[in-house]
C-alpha cells in the first residue's frame, strides 16, 4: 500500500492508504482527527472545510495522493496555533473562534468547525484584496447550517474580522 506523507496541524504524518482515498477519510477514519465533519462527501455542504497551506479547501474532494510531504493541512483542531500566543483570546483560541463563543453562534454544532474555517479564509481573502467583508461576501458563503444560525454567523464573522 502506498505511503502518504503530509503535515496535519503542524505535525508530519505518514499513513498507509491508497492514493484515491479522499483526505477527509484519512483525517477522520485513519488519523482520528474528527473536527472536520462529513455532511455530503461531494463538496457541497462544506462541513469539512479545513485549510491547505493557509487556504480553505474541502478534504472530501481531494485524493490523499495529491498531497505532498510539505503540504500543511490545518483543521479546526489546529486553528488556535495559527495565531501567535499573545494574539489568542481568553479561551486561548483563534480570534474567530473567540468571536463564535462570544456571539454563542453554535446550536447543534455539527457544521460549525467548517463555518469557522471558511470564515477565517474569507477574512484573509478579502484582506488580501485590500478590503473588508461585505454583505455580498456573507451572502456568498456556501456552508450550510440546518439549524439556521446564519444571522449569528454573519455577526461573528464581522466581529472576528476586527479581532483578526
Amino acid at each position: 500500500m502506498p505511503e502518504q506523507t503530509f503535515v496535519v496541524n503542524g505535525e508530519r504524518v505518514t499513513v498507509d492508504v491508497e492514493d484515491d482515498v479522499r483526505v477527509l477519510w484519512v483525517l477522520r477514519d485513519l488519523l482520528g482527527v474528527t473536527g472536520p465533519k462529513y455532511g455530503c462527501g461531494i463538496n457541497v455542504c462544506k462541513a469539512c472545510t479545513s485549510h491547505i497551506n493557509g487556504k480553505a479547501f474541502n478534504p472530501c474532494a481531494v485524493p490523499v495522493g495529491e498531497l505532498s510531504a510539505d503540504d500543511e493541512v490545518t483543521t479546526i483542531e489546529g486553528l488556535p496555533a495559527q495565531t501567535a500566543e499573545d494574539a489568542r483570546g481568553p479561551h486561548g483560541l483563534h480570534p474567530m473562534q473567540e468571536a463564535w463563543l462570544e456571539r454563542d453562534v453554535v446550536q447543534c454544532g455539527y457544521c460549525q468547525p467548517g463555518q469557522i474555517m471558511a470564515a477565517v479564509a474569507l477574512v484573509r481573502k478579502v484582506r488580501d484584496e485590500g478590503r473588508t467583508i461585505t454583505d455580498a461576501d456573507l451572502d456568498g458563503i456556501r456552508n450550510i447550517c440546518r439549524c439556521g444560525t446564519y444571522t449569528r454567523i454573519r455577526e461573528a464573522i464581522r466581529d472576528g474580522e476586527t479581532r483578526m
Partner: protein, 767 residues
C-alpha cells in the same frame, strides 16, 4: 375581546423529594400529579375553546412523565460539582444548557460546575424519556429544580453539623455553605457527609422564581467550547474499538429490498473492505474508511425487489390524498372565502446524517446513537437481533440536528443487524444521498379552508387537512405505546395522529364556528414529525385566508387580526412585532410585509416578514442554488412563558425563521419514478446565506406564565408570515408550498449506483 390564556397553576414552591442512599448526595423529585385546569372566556363572536386550548400535547407529555419524575436525580460530587443525567436528547435545541442553569440556580453553583450528560435508555422511566413536542422544559422545569433543592437541603444539614450552627441560619454562596460568622465549607467536602445510607423522604421549598439570578439571564451554551474547537462528539466521531466505517447500498426505488448480491467476493476484495452482508434494508459494506465504503457501495451489483411506491410520482401521491379527502364541512349561510392548498413532501434530514455505532456479539448488544426515544429503540433492537432486552445497552449521543428525524431509530436497528450479520462492531453512517432520499419526510398534505362572513363578522371557519400518514410509531417513548401505534394497516397510528393534531391545532381568532379536522392516508412512505409537525402547513393556510377575509372587509391585515384575536398574550406579541417591524411602512412595488401568528407549546409567537419579489432580486444568480424572492427582514416576537435562557430562545427563533422561509419558498422533495430525487444540499434547498434575512430581530417577552417550549415554536408563524408577505407582494395568493416546487432546480443524480462518487478537484477550488 377576551383572552384564552393557557392553564394556570398556583405558584407552588413546596415539594416532596427523596434523598437516595449512596456515597455522595443523590437527590430526586416527587411531583405527584399536578392538577391543571383552564379558563376560557367567550368574546363577542366567540369561538369555543378548541381541545388544544384546554389541554395540549405538552400537557399530555408532561402528565405522562410526572409519575416517574422521582427517578430523575441530581448528584453532588466530591469535587464540589453537580452531575445530572438528562433523560432527554440534545440535538441543538439547548436543553442541556437550560438544565444546567436550573440546577445551578437551585444549588447556588456556577453553571460551569454542573455537568449535564444524556441518560442511556432507561425503560423504567416509561413515558419520561421522549424528546419531542418541545416539551423538555415544560415537563422537567419542576422535577429538576426539586431534585436540586433536595440535594441542597442535604448539604445544609451536613453543614450544620460541621459548622455547629442550625441549618436555617446557614446560607449558600457559589458552591459553599456559609455560617453567619463567615466560616464556610464547600459542597465537595459536604457531599460525603450528607450522603444517606437509606433513602429518605424530605420536603423542600424551591427558590422563589422572582429571585432567580441565573434562570432568565442570557447564558451561552455549555457545549459551545467543544463545538468551536471540534471536540464535540457525534455518533460518527466516537472511537469504539474495531467499529470500522460501514455504509449500506440501497435500492433504486424507495424502500426496495435486496434480492441477491451478484459480486460479493469481488467487492470484498476491494481495497480496505472487510465485510459485505445483506440486511433487510440493503447490502452493507464495512471498510477501513468511509471513502472505501462509498467505492464498494458503487461497485456492488445487486438484484433488487421494487419498493412499494415503485413508478410513483408526486402527482400520484397527491391524487391519493385527494381521493381520501372528506367532503367539505357545512358552514353557516353567508359570503364565503375559500382556499385549497397543497404542501409537498419536505425533508427533515439533519447535517449529521443517520448514524449509529453497534457491537452485537455473544448474545449482547451495545449501541451508540442519537435517539429521542431510546427505550423504543432498545425494544426494537432486542426484537431485531433476538437478544433479551436486559442485554441490550443503548447509549444516547448528542445529535447534529434532528428536526423530528431522531424520534425514530432505523439507523440504530440497521447498525445492530449489520453488526450481528458481520460478527464485528460497525460504525454505520448514511450517505447524504440516502439521508435525503430514503430518510423520513414531512408528508405531502392538502388543506382546504372555507370561511364565511356577513358584514365585518366572521361566522364560521372550517379547515379539512388531508395528509399522507405521519408516522407516530414511537408512541410516547416507551415500547408498549410504540407497539400500540404499530398495529397493522395504520390502525394504531391513526388515533395517535388524530390526538396530536387536535392537541396542537389552535385557530387563535374569534371566527364563530371553527372546525379543524384531519384525515390521513397511505402508509407506504417514510414519514415522521418535522419541526412543529402539522402547524406550519395548517397555519400557513389559515393566515392566507385571514388576509383574504381582511381584504374582503377592506381592513388592514394587522387591524383585522387585532380585532379578532382571542388570546391576550398573542395580542401583546403581535402589537410588539408590528411596532418593531414598522408595520405599514412604505415599500417599493414588488415588496410587502406579511403577518403570521401562532399559539403552541404554552406560548405564543408573532412574526412579520418583509419580502422582496422584484425581478432583479428574484432573478439574482447563485451557482447551483435557488434564489427567488428574498425575505429582507424578519421580526419574531415570542412569549414562551417564564424564560429560562433568553439567548437560547433567540437562537431557536432565528432557526425557526429560516425553517419557515424554506418551507414556504424553497425546500421540497420531488418524487419521480418511485424515488425522491434530492441527493445533495444543492438539490434540497434549505435556507442558505443568500436566502436568509439580512435583518432578523427577535424579541423575547418577559412573562410570569409557566415556562413553555421553544425549539419548534416559531416555525408556523414564520412559514405563514413568508406566505402572506409573498401573496401581498405579488397580489396573488399562492396555493402550493414551497412556491417553487413545480420547477426542478437541479440535475438529479443517478439512482444506481445509489450514492455519488466524491469529486477529486478540491484543490482547484481553494480560497
Amino acid at each position: 375581546m377576551t383572552t384564552t390564556d393557557g392553564p394556570h397553576t398556583v405558584n407552588r414552591r413546596k415539594f416532596i423529594g427523596y434523598l437516595l442512599g449512596g456515597a455522595t448526595v443523590v437527590a430526586a423529585a416527587d411531583l405527584g400529579m399536578v392538577g391543571r385546569g383552564a379558563t376560557a372566556d367567550a368574546g363577542e363572536l366567540p369561538t369555543l375553546p378548541q381541545p388544544a386550548e384546554i389541554a395540549d400535547l405538552s400537557d399530555l407529555l408532561t402528565l405522562a412523565a410526572a409519575p416517574t419524575s422521582q427517578l430523575i436525580t441530581v448528584t453532588i460530587n466530591d469535587d464540589g460539582t453537580a452531575s445530572f443525567e438528562l433523560p432527554r436528547t440534545e440535538v441543538g435545541q439547548g436543553i442541556t444548557t437550560a438544565a444546567a442553569m436550573l440546577i445551578a440556580e437551585e444549588l447556588d453553583l456556577p453553571v460551569d460546575k454542573v455537568h449535564v450528560t444524556l441518560a442511556p435508555a432507561r425503560p423504567e422511566l416509561l413515558f419520561n424519556q421522549i424528546t419531542g413536542g418541545s416539551n423538555t422544559i415544560h415537563a422537567m422545569y419542576t422535577p429538576i429544580r426539586v431534585a436540586a433543592a433536595v440535594a441542597k437541603g442535604a448539604l445544609l444539614q451536613a453543614a450544620a453539623t460541621v459548622l455547629g450552627d442550625s441549618a436555617n441560619k446557614l446560607t449558600s454562596h457559589l458552591g459553599h455553605i456559609v455560617a453567619p460568622d463567615g466560616r464556610r465549607v464547600d459542597y465537595g467536602r459536604l457531599s460525603a457527609l450528607a450522603a444517606n445510607e437509606q433513602p429518605e423522604t424530605v420536603e423542600v421549598e424551591l427558590k422563589d422564581e422572582n429571585s432567580h439570578g441565573i434562570v432568565g439571564t442570557p447564558v451561552n451554551r455549555i457545549d459551545a467550547l467543544d463545538a468551536v474547537t471540534g471536540t464535540k462528539q457525534f455518533a460518527t466521531d466516537l472511537d469504539v474499538a474495531d467499529a470500522l466505517p460501514t455504509m449500506v447500498c440501497r435500492a433504486p426505488t424507495l424502500n426496495g429490498t435486496p434480492n441477491a448480491v451478484n459480486n460479493a467476493d469481488e467487492v470484498r476484495n476491494m481495497p480496505g473492505v472487510t465485510h459485505v452482508a445483506i440486511v433487510p434494508t440493503g447490502v452493507a459494506v464495512r471498510a477501513s474508511t468511509f471513502g472505501q465504503c462509498i467505492d464498494a457501495v458503487r461497485a456492488l451489483d445487486v438484484s433488487w425487489n421494487d419498493g412499494p411506491v415503485a413508478g410513483m410520482s408526486d402527482e400520484d401521491a397527491l391524487a391519493g390524498v385527494r381521493a381520501a379527502e372528506a367532503p367539505a364541512p357545512e358552514l353557516p349561510a353567508g359570503e364565503t372565502v375559500s382556499g385549497d392548498f397543497t404542501f409537498w413532501f419536505r425533508s427533515n434530514s439533519a447535517m449529521d446524517t443517520n448514524s449509529a455505532v453497534a457491537d452485537v456479539r455473544d448474545g449482547r448488544a451495545e449501541i451508540w446513537a442519537s435517539l429521542k426515544n431510546p427505550n423504543v429503540a432498545q425494544g426494537r433492537i432486542a426484537e431485531a437481533v433476538g437478544i433479551p432486552l436486559n442485554n441490550v445497552t443503548v447509549h444516547v449521543v448528542q445529535g447534529g440536528g434532528s428536526f423530528g428525524r431522531r424520534l425514530f431509530d432505523e439507523p440504530a436497528i440497521e447498525a445492530a443487524r449489520i453488526s450481528q450479520a458481520m460478527g464485528v462492531p460497525v460504525k454505520l453512517m448514511w450517505h447524504r444521498a440516502d439521508d435525503a432520499r430514503v430518510g423520513r419526510t414531512h408528508p405531502l398534505a392538502t388543506s382546504r379552508i372555507r370561511a364565511c362572513y356577513a358584514g365585518d363578522t366572521v361566522l364560521g371557519f372550517q379547515q379539512a387537512h388531508t395528509s399522507i400518514e405521519t408516522d407516530f410509531r414511537h408512541g410516547l417513548g416507551d415500547i408498549i405505546t410504540a407497539k400500540a401505534a404499530d398495529l397493522p394497516a395504520g390502525l394504531g397510528n391513526m388515533p395517535f395522529a388524530q390526538v396530536i393534531f387536535q392537541l396542537t391545532t389552535i385557530l387563535p381568532y374569534d371566527f364563530g364556528a371553527v372546525g379543524q379536522s384531519l384525515v390521513e392516508t397511505d402508509t407506504r412512505f417514510n414519514t415522521s414529525s418535522m419541526r412543529n409537525i402539522y402547524s406550519p402547513d395548517v397555519r400557513t393556510a389559515n393566515e392566507l385566508i385571514v388576509d383574504q377575509l381582511a381584504q374582503r372587509m377592506g381592513t388592514d391585515p394587522l387591524e383585522f387580526r387585532l380585532a379578532h384575536l382571542r388570546n391576550g398574550r398573542l395580542r401583546t406579541a403581535l402589537e410588539t412585532a408590528a411596532e418593531k417591524a414598522e408595520w405599514g411602512k412604505e415599500l417599493p412595488e414588488g415588496m410587502a410585509q406579511g403577518i403570521g401568528v401562532h399559539v403552541e407549546y404554552k406560548g405564543v409567537t408573532a412574526c412579520i416578514m418583509e419580502i422582496d419579489c422584484r425581478p432583479e432580486t428574484v432573478g439574482r444568480k447563485v451557482r447551483n442554488a435557488v434564489t427567488g424572492p428574498r425575505v429582507t427582514k424578519a421580526t419574531m416576537v415570542i412569549d414562551c412563558g417564564r424564560v429560562i435562557n433568553p439567548r437560547g430562545v433567540e437562537a431557536q427563533m432565528q432557526g425557526c425563521v429560516n425553517d419557515g422561509i424554506a418551507m414556504t419558498l424553497t425546500s421540497s422533495l420531488h418524487l419521480r419514478d418511485g424515488h425522491f430525487q434530492e441527493a445533495s444540499w444543492d438539490n434540497y434547498f434549505y435556507t442558505r446565506q443568500w436566502n436568509t434575512p439580512p435583518e432578523l430581530d427577535v424579541v423575547v417577552l418577559e412573562s410570569t406564565e409557566p415556562p413553555g417550549g421553544v425549539g419548534e415554536a416559531g416555525v408556523a408563524a414564520s412559514a405563514a408570515a413568508a406566505a402572506c408577505a409573498y401573496a401581498r407582494a405579488t397580489a396573488a395568493m399562492p396555493t402550493e408550498f414551497p412556491i417553487n416546487h413545480r420547477t426542478l432546480s437541479f440535475e438529479p443524480k443517478p439512482y444506481s449506483p445509489p450514492v455519488p462518487q466524491s469529486p477529486t478537484d478540491g484543490l482547484d477550488h481553494t480560497y
